[in-house]
C-alpha cells in the first residue's frame, strides 16, 4: 500500500508538471505578450523594458517556465489583465459557486442514477426495467445545454416556481444541477444496472437466496455492496465531465462561478486568467481521481496495488 501510494502521488506530480508545461506552451503561442496588453501602443521604450524585466520576460524560456511552476506552487498564478487582481484571488472568489453546483449535481446524479439502476436490475425485464433504461438513455442523449433552456422555459417562465438566472440560496441551484446532472445520472443508472446484474449472477447471491434470506436484504446488503465498487470508479470520470459541463451550465443560468469566469476571460483575451482556471481545474480533477483510486483500495480488499 505505501509503495503504491508513493507511485500514485509521483504520477500526480508528473501529470501536474505536464499540465503546467502544456499551459505554459499555449501561453507562449498566444499572440501579444503581457507588455503590449498593458501598454498597447503607448509607453516609452524604457517603461516597456522595465515591465519586461519586472515580469521576467527577458529570461530564457526554460527559466520562465520554472519560475511559472515555482510561483504556481506558491499559489501565485499571475495577475489578471482585465481586473489587475491576482488570478488566484479571482478564481477563489468564484470557486464556491462552482463547488456548490458540482456537489448538488453529483448528489442528484448519485441518488437518482444509482437507485434507478438498482430498481432496473432487481426488476429485470419488467416494464419498470424498460422504463428506467429508456429514461436513462434519454438522460445521456438530451444535450444538457438544451435541457437547461427547456427547464428555464417550463419551471421559470411558465410555472414561475424557480429562478432562472443568478445566484443566491439553494433554489438557484436546482435547475442548473438538474440540467448538468441528467447525463451523469443516466450514465450512472446504466452502469449501476449492469454492475448489479453482473453480481446477481454470482454464486454467493444464489447461496444467500437458497438460505431463504429476505430477497430485499440479499439485494441491498449482499449484491449492492459489491456492485457499487465499480460504480465508484467512474465517479472520478463523471466529476471531470462535470467540471467541463459547468462552463456551459454556468453561462446558461448566469451563475457567477469559475466556468463563467473562464468564458469572460476568454472573451477579453485575459490569458493569465484562462491559464489559471485551466490549471486549477486540472489540479482538481487529478486530485478527485487520486481520491477515488485510494478510496477504491479501501472499499475493495481484493485490490492491492503492490
Amino acid at each position: 500500500m505505501p509503495a503504491y501510494l508513493v507511485r500514485r502521488i509521483l504520477s500526480v506530480v508528473i501529470v501536474m508538471l505536464g499540465a503546467s508545461l502544456f499551459v505554459f506552451v499555449i501561453s507562449q503561442l498566444t499572440p501579444g505578450d503581457a507588455v503590449s496588453v498593458r501598454y498597447g501602443d503607448t509607453g516609452t521604450p524604457e517603461q516597456r523594458e522595465m515591465l519586461r524585466r519586472q515580469l521576467g520576460l527577458d529570461q530564457s524560456l526554460p527559466v520562465q517556465y520554472f519560475r511559472f511552476v515555482g510561483n504556481a506552487i506558491r499559489g501565485d498564478l499571475g495577475v489578471s489583465h482585465r481586473s489587475g487582481r491576482p488570478v488566484t484571488q479571482e478564481i477563489l472568489s468564484r470557486l464556491p459557486v462552482t463547488l456548490q453546483l458540482a456537489s448538488a449535481t453529483l448528489l442528484i446524479a448519485i441518488i437518482v442514477g444509482v437507485s434507478a439502476g438498482i430498481i432496473a436490475a432487481v426488476k429485470q425485464n419488467t416494464i419498470l426495467d424498460v422504463g428506467m433504461i429508456t429514461i436513462a438513455l434519454l438522460g445521456v442523449s438530451i444535450p444538457s445545454f438544451w435541457l437547461g433552456l427547456m427547464l428555464q422555459v417550463v419551471f421559470g417562465y411558465q410555472l414561475g416556481w424557480l429562478p432562472v438566472a443568478g445566484s443566491g440560496d439553494w433554489r438557484y441551484y436546482i435547475l442548473p444541477a438538474l440540467s448538468l446532472g441528467s447525463s451523469a445520472a443516466g450514465g450512472l443508472a446504466r452502469y449501476t444496472r449492469s454492475a448489479m446484474l453482473e453480481v446477481i449472477r454470482l454464486d454467493y447471491i444464489r447461496t444467500a437466496q437458497a438460505k431463504g434470506l429476505d430477497s430485499r436484504k440479499v439485494m441491498l446488503k449482499h449484491a449492492l455492496r459489491n456492485a457499487l465498487i465499480p460504480v465508484t470508479s467512474i465517479l472520478g470520470l463523471q466529476f471531470a465531465g462535470l467540471m467541463g459541463g459547468a462552463i456551459i451550465t454556468e453561462s446558461i443560468f448566469a451563475l457567477p462561478g469559475v466556468g463563467r469566469l473562464s468564458i469572460e476571460a476568454l472573451a477579453s483575451r485575459d490569458v493569465p486568467l484562462v491559464q489559471g482556471v485551466v490549471l486549477m481545474a486540472a489540479a482538481i480533477i487529478v486530485l478527485a481521481n487520486l481520491i477515488v483510486d485510494l478510496f477504491y483500495t479501501v472499499i475493495d480488499p481484493r485490490i492491492r496495488y503492490d
Binding site: S11, I14, V15, M16, G18, A19, F22, V23, I26, S27, L29, T30, P31, Q124, N125, L137, L138, V140, S141, I142, P143, S144, F145, W146, L149, M150, Q152, V153, Y157, R193, S194, L197, E198, R201, A240, G241, M243, G244, G245, I247, I248, S251, S262, I263, A265, L266, R269, V271, V274, Q275, V277, V278, A281, A282, I285, V286
Partner: protein
Amino acid sequence: MTEGAPAITTPIRRGVLLRLLGYTNARIGLAIILLIVLLAIFAPWLTEFDPIRQNLRGRFLPPSATNWFGTDEFGRDIFTRVAYGARISLQIGASVVLISITGGALLGLLAGYFRGWVDTILQQLMEIWIAFPSLLLALAIFSAFEQNLTTLIIIVGIGGIPSDFRIVRAVTLSLRETEFVEASQAMGARTPRLLLRHVLPGVLSPLIVSATLSFPGAILATAALSFIGFGAQPPTPEWGAIIAGGRAYLRAEWWIATLPGLTLALTVLGLNLFGDGLRDLLDPRMRSRK
C-alpha cells in the same frame, strides 16, 4: 485468426449488420440515423428555402404547413437550417471520431507493441491528457488560436484519443503474445507489416465499437461549444449555434430553440441506441444481460 486472442477481438463479418437488426434498439437507432442522413443528403430538395438568406417580412412565424419548424428572427426557415445543419453535425462527428481513432490506434499500437519506455511515456502522456476534459482543453487552446469550427473539431478529436489509446494498447498487448504474431515474427516480418497485417485487424472491431459510442459525444461536445459562441459562427446553420440564436426568444418564440434541440437529441439518441447494439454484438464481454 482469433485463435488464442481474447473474445473481444471477434472479427467483423459480413453478417454483422444483419444480426444487428435482430436487436430492437439497434433497429430503432438505425432508423433514426438513416432519417437524419437522408435529411442531410436531400436537404436542398426537401425544402424550397435558403438556410442563410434573410427574409425580414417573415420573421418569427410559428410552425405551420409551410414552415414546419417556424422561422427565426431573420425570417429564415428553421427546418431548412436544421436540415442543412445535419450535414454539418454529421461531418463534425465523423471528423472528430476519425481524428481520435487514428491517433488512438497509432499510439496504442506503438505502446502495446514496443512496451518498455515507449509505453511508459505514452501512458503518462495520456494521463496528462485526461486531466483536461475536452471543454477545458478547448478553452486553453482557444486562448491562443483562432476560434473556428476546424480548430474545435481538432480539439475535440484530440480529446478523444486517450480512450481509444487504452483500448488499442490493451488488445495489442494480448495479441502480441499470440502464436500467429510470434510465427510471423520468426519468419522475419518487419514491424510495420506485422502491426498493419496482423495486429491492426484484431484491434478493428473494438475500435469500431468505440468510434460508434463516441460519435454522439463528439456531436454533443461540438454543439455545446458552438452554443456558447466558440466554434461555428453565425450565420452557419450548425445545431448548437441555431439553438443559441433562439435563446433570447425563449419566452414567446419557443420554437426557435426547441425544435432544433429536439432534432439534436433525437440524433444522439439514435446513435446511442445503435452503438449499444453494436457493442453488445461485437464485444460479448460488455453485453448487457438479456
